[in-house]
């Protein structure tokens, strides 16, 4: 799979992962999946993806925020700090509503925020932008 752009998708819903995998593979991406925040961080180090798609509410908690700030602030993930993150959630809120206190909570805004179900053209466009950036 050399040469393909690699997408790490972190989401605890295996059906969501399954359909996104088909979509991404048909679009010529290489997809790595993780079903929890912890697994996501492991795979980040193992696979060094070009972009991360991160679900916010995993295991009924807001684990995605934790993953986001771990990548941006913890020294062990420093090499991956600039990997673009696309955050996804089924809760409909604008990034401003979502992250009004981002700074005081020690988080940074994700590069993109999309609601689920994903609008496929927008999702693909966000990925394209992200990998170009990388």
């Amino acid at each position: 799979m050399a040469g393909l752009k690699k997408v790490l998708v972190i989401d605890d819903d295996e059906d969501f992962l399954e359909s996104v995998r088909s979509l991404l593979e048909s679009e010529g991406y290489d997809m790595v999946e993780a079903e929890s925040g912890r697994e996501g961080l492991q795979k980040l180090v193992q696979h060094d993806p070009d972009v991360i798609v991160l679900d916010i509410m995993m295991e009924s908690t807001s684990e995605g925020y934790g993953v986001n700030s771990a990548i941006k602030f913890q020294p062990e993930y420093e090499p991956y700090r600039d990997v673009p993150i696309i955050m996804v959630s089924s809760i409909q809120m604008s990034p401003d509503e979502r992250f009004p206190r981002a700074e005081e909570l020690g988080m940074i805004r994700p590069d993109e925020y999309l609601t689920k179900p994903l609008d496929i053209p927008r999702f693909l466009e966000a990925l394209r932008r992200a990998v170009q950036h990388a």
């Binding site: 059906d15 969501f16 399954e18 079903e35 089924s90 496929i120």
Partner: protein, 406 residues
């Protein structure tokens, strides 16, 4: 250290906040500022004084004091203006106005616009201390109720978000399948995918229906009379009925079911449907979260006025850090095994609510790698004669109690 500042002022409630109450005094009269500072500082308060509204407000903005004492008649920014600015800065800051007798009418206006009390000049040190004490008590109440209100609102909003997330998740998965399928209409392996995803979609709709059913059960237990019936419920009948229903599931999961009741009939007082839903949930969990070759053991015994039923499994156990959340709505234990086992996250909350409606309790004991035991305490059933005899006995013993205490 807890004692210090309020030692001489009994009645001022001790605050959780370790700082002594902070008071800002704004008055253009030097002698007044000095005496207010001395009187209040002597009561252990932290006092700052300012000669005009502008400086006072600057300090209030940054230090957010508990109480502001302000003279109504000052050059520059007026006392009334200070009141309305302080209310803008923080409506929970309590304000007391100082006023000369000729301006008592404006003191009334000040109270209308948000001041808590007024103190006519001249006043004695005790009068100032008393007003300050009452104002700080007011402050404490305001803080307390605002904190409670905030917590309530926060929980309510978080809960609504939470429930909608749980309901949306399966729909999102289904929607995503359908949309990706539509997009990949012409891809070579779409026919295979279509069949597979069709099955997965059906599974997700079933899951969603189960969540909604459980959600309804939960609110029914809370709002209807479902759990208010109090009749004799034969546990042996109910438990063996449930075990029969799940015989097949247990065989598929390679789990052995046993029922062990210390006496038969074992009667509890409650509603048969609720009791049935309760143990149905516990037994299904014990089968689902078990290991191949494991056991589910259901045992019951009567201890005094209660019946204790234990449902034990030989599964992976529940890590200690999760146990306190186990009975919360939509909580699911983390980890692969738990997640792969379908569940609505409402089974145990339903159990807990039923048990508490029936006047019992539920607890879990668990050891990682060994298994978990859910123990339920329910009130034993007594027929009317038994109940009457017991009430009489209780009455007699309370008579004795009263007599003895005399």
């Amino acid at each position: 250290m807890d004692e210090s500042p309020h030692g001489e002022m009994p009645g001022v409630p001790r605050r959780l906040d370790p700082h002594p109450p902070r008071i800002v005094v704004i008055d253009d009269d030097y002698a007044m500022r000095l005496s207010c500072r001395q009187i209040l500082a002597k009561s252990g308060y932290q006092v700052e004084t300012f000669e005009d509204g502008a400086h006072g407000l600057d300090s209030i903005l940054t230090t957010k004091p508990d109480l502001v004492v302000v003279d109504l008649k000052m050059p520059g920014i007026s006392g009334m203006e200070v009141i309305s600015r302080v209310k803008e800065i923080d409506p929970l800051i309590v304000i007391v106005v100082i006023t000369g007798y000729p301006t008592i009418g404006s003191a009334v206006d000040a109270i209308k616009s948000g001041a808590f009390d007024f103190l006519p000049k001249p006043f004695t040190p005790d009068e100032l201390r008393l007003v300050a004490k009452r104002a700080l008590e007011r402050r404490r109440l305001l803080l307390e109720s605002s904190r409670l209100e905030f917590e309530r609102e926060f929980l309510k909003r978080r809960f609504v978000t939470f429930v909608s997330h749980q309901l949306k998740t399966p729909l999102v998965a289904i929607h995503q399948y359908l949309e990706v399928l539509e997009r990949m209409e012409d891809a070579p392996d779409t026919a295979t995918k279509r069949r597979e995803w069709h099955q997965r979609c059906l599974k997700r709709t079933d899951g969603l229906l189960a969540i909604i059913d459980d959600w309804l059960t939960l609110s029914e237990i809370e709002t209807s009379d479902l759990a208010r019936r109090r009749v004799s419920v034969n546990l042996g009948e109910i438990l063996s009925g449930i075990l029969d229903v799940y015989e097949e599931l247990a065989a598929e999961s390679d789990v052995e079911l046993t029922l062990d009741l210390a006496e038969d009939p074992l009667l509890v007082r409650g509603d048969p449907n609720c009791v049935s839903v309760l143990f149905d949930n516990l037994i299904v969990n014990a089968i689902k979260y078990n290991r191949a070759g494991g056991d589910v053991r259901v045992s019951g015994e009567r201890v005094g006025g209660e019946v204790i039923v234990a449902v034990s499994d030989t599964g992976v156990g529940i890590p200690e850090k999760y146990r306190t959340f186990l009975f919360d709505e939509f909580f699911r234990v983390g980890g692969d095994a738990a997640r792969k086992t379908g569940g609505t996250g409402l089974g145990l909350p339903i159990c807990k609510r039923i048990v508490s409606e029936l006047g019992g309790k539920i607890e879990v004991e668990s050891e990682e790698g060994v298994g978990s035991t859910f123990k339920v305490w329910l009130p034993v059933y007594r027929d009317d004669a038994g109940l009457q005899a017991e009430e009489e006995a209780a009455a007699r013993s309370s008579d004795i109690g009263v007599g003895a205490s005399k």
